[in-house]
């Protein structure tokens, strides 16, 4: 589904991502874990085209997309829920969801999709007329995810969905991520909350200052002493 080959990403003269390679296969949940500033967000931005790699290659659904525009990637089936949710705060919940379906034409299907999102996130339904900026952090996260689902993605990139949420809400969000995966969406999940991420993922990569330092099955990383010490407290 997604293959990253030896990408390097710079901010000005500073290299934030060094020679990173990894794959996400169809149907998987793959997680990329790492501490603050490891470069997780930078990698996701590079995949979705908001940033460009200096070198290396990104292949999505057998096509090289290293210089494809973000809006075209979305049409190809890649959706990205950015760090900090980035909902359109001056617009209503419903308008945010409609924007998620921006590239789709069939009004009836869009309506059905909105109902599905409301089924998955009943709290959004109650607040559909409310401005997104007035939602709580957890509700905004649900909206950001619901909005991304409106494009019917094949691959969903999630950047720290648990950030700033109460433990019980984190659990709810991670359950939903699993459900989304079970309905056929491949997921690349970026997290600092390594424990939660590893407990739902199939495979994982550990990122440290822009380099991948470890990879493997999620369960085995969950039991790994080094990972335990560094990320699981």
């Amino acid at each position: 589904m997604l293959t990253i080959n030896n990408i390097n990403v710079n901010y000005g003269s500073i290299r934030a991502i060094k020679d990173v390679s990894f794959q996400v296969h169809q149907g998987e949940i793959v997680t990329l874990i790492g501490a603050n500033g490891a470069g997780k967000t930078t990698i996701l931005h590079t995949i979705s085209g908001l940033l460009r790699a200096q070198s290396g290659e990104i292949i999505f659904k057998d096509q090289t997309v290293s210089s494809t525009e973000p809006h075209q990637l979305l049409k190809m089936g890649m959706a990205h829920v950015p760090e900090g949710r980035r909902v359109f705060s001056q617009m209503s919940v419903l308008e945010n969801l409609e924007l998620g379906a921006y590239t789709r034409k069939n009004k009836k299907e869009i309506e059905e999709n909105i109902s599905k999102v409301f089924e998955r996130f009943p709290r959004l339904k109650e607040r559909k007329k409310q401005l997104a900026g007035t939602l709580s952090g957890g509700e905004q996260q649900m909206l950001a995810m619901g909005r991304a689902l409106m494009s019917k993605p094949k691959l969903l990139l999630l950047d720290e969905p648990s950030m700033g949420l109460a433990p019980i809400l984190v659990k709810e969000i991670f359950n939903i991520i699993q459900e989304i995966n079970q309905t056929g969406t491949t997921i690349l999940l970026v997290e600092q909350n390594a424990h939660m991420a590893l407990s739902i993922a199939h495979r994982a990569y550990v990122l440290e200052t822009g380099k991948i330092v470890m990879e493997g099955k999620a369960e085995s990383l969950l039991g790994n002493e080094q990972v335990k010490k560094a990320y699981l407290g």
Partner: protein, 291 residues
């Protein structure tokens, strides 16, 4: 002249400022650029109408349509050629470029048409409408109806249509908008087209109200419309409309009751005062981000 009469005159010129101010505020909203060439787009609109009226003697409705299309295309071209390459440059570079574009347009028209004023060849030969002691000219009525009509249409467009929603999304968060599949370049182009079309209509209406046109005619109304946009809260569309009408009314009242000579100084003074009290403008929000 009575107070009411002054007020109507103020609404007349204010509705034109509002149209032009909308162009400033829409462009600012989407790419955070004060498009200093916008006043010259208004001049471009006036000259387009002048040419189509004198050379082809077309009816005013057609003239207006041609002006709208011409200014929209000009606005998109300016954005593509002058501003787009600077999208990631420091903001001051784009601002200086905008001033450059303004000079370029003014000088181009100076070469094409010369510096002398030309009478704008459109008149309405109907007697003014009398309501009691009030005399309302048909030009005032048509200007008000047309500009309010356009503003209502624009409001609907921005709120309800897909492109309008895309414009709001790009204004609020360009990256997030891209992630929704919105082509931001196209959206920015459309914003320039609409803003410039409004400027062009403003230019035609202004030329009908003050029927002398010359290459620098856009400078003063452009500046006032810009101030109107800032007064209302730059980047906020209802703010531009409110600011435009206020500007026109204040100007008309100062001219009527204080001094014609000092009216501009007083109008600019008011801007300074408002901004000292509320730097984000009348409808501007002080707190934007929730932490």
């Amino acid at each position: 002249m009575t107070f009411l009469q002054q007020l109507i005159n103020g609404l007349h010129v204010g509705s034109i400022y509002a149209l032009i101010a909308l162009g400033y505020t829409m462009v600012y909203g989407i790419i955070k650029l004060i498009n200093f060439a916008h006043g010259d787009i208004m001049m471009l609109g006036a000259f387009t109408a002048f040419m189509t009226l004198t050379t082809f003697q077309l009816p005013i409705g057609v003239v207006l349509l041609i002006t709208i299309i011409f200014c929209a295309i000009a606005g998109m071209l300016i954005e593509r050629i002058a501003y787009k390459p600077l999208r990631n440059a420091p903001r001051i570079s784009a601002l200086i470029t905008a001033i450059g574009v303004s000079f370029a347009l003014e000088n181009l028209f100076l070469i094409l048409f010369g510096a002398s004023s030309k009478p704008f060849p459109y008149h309405i030969n109907l007697p003014p409408l009398s309501i009691g002691p009030l005399q309302i000219t048909w030009i005032t009525i048509i200007t008000l109806l047309l500009s309010v009509g356009i503003m209502l249409m624009l409001d609907f467009f921005i709120k309800k249509t897909k492109i309008g929603k895309a414009m709001r999304a790009v204004s609020e968060d360009e990256d997030a908008a891209q992630l929704m599949g919105i082509n931001t370049s196209t959206t920015i182009s459309i914003t320039f087209a609409i803003g410039s079309a409004l400027g062009g209509v403003g230019g035609v209406l202004y030329s009908i109200a003050y029927p002398q046109i010359q290459p620098y005619m856009g400078v003063m109304p452009g500046l006032k419309a810009f101030i109107a946009a800032v007064l209302g809260g730059i980047g906020i569309m209802p703010g531009a409309m409110l600011g435009g009408f206020l500007m026109g009314i204040i100007e008309s009242l100062t001219k009527g009751y204080i001094s014609t000579l000092w009216s501009d100084a007083i109008v600019f003074g008011i801007l300074i005062l408002v901004l000292l009290i509320k730097p984000t403008g009348i409808l501007g929000k002080n707190i934007r981000e929730k932490v």
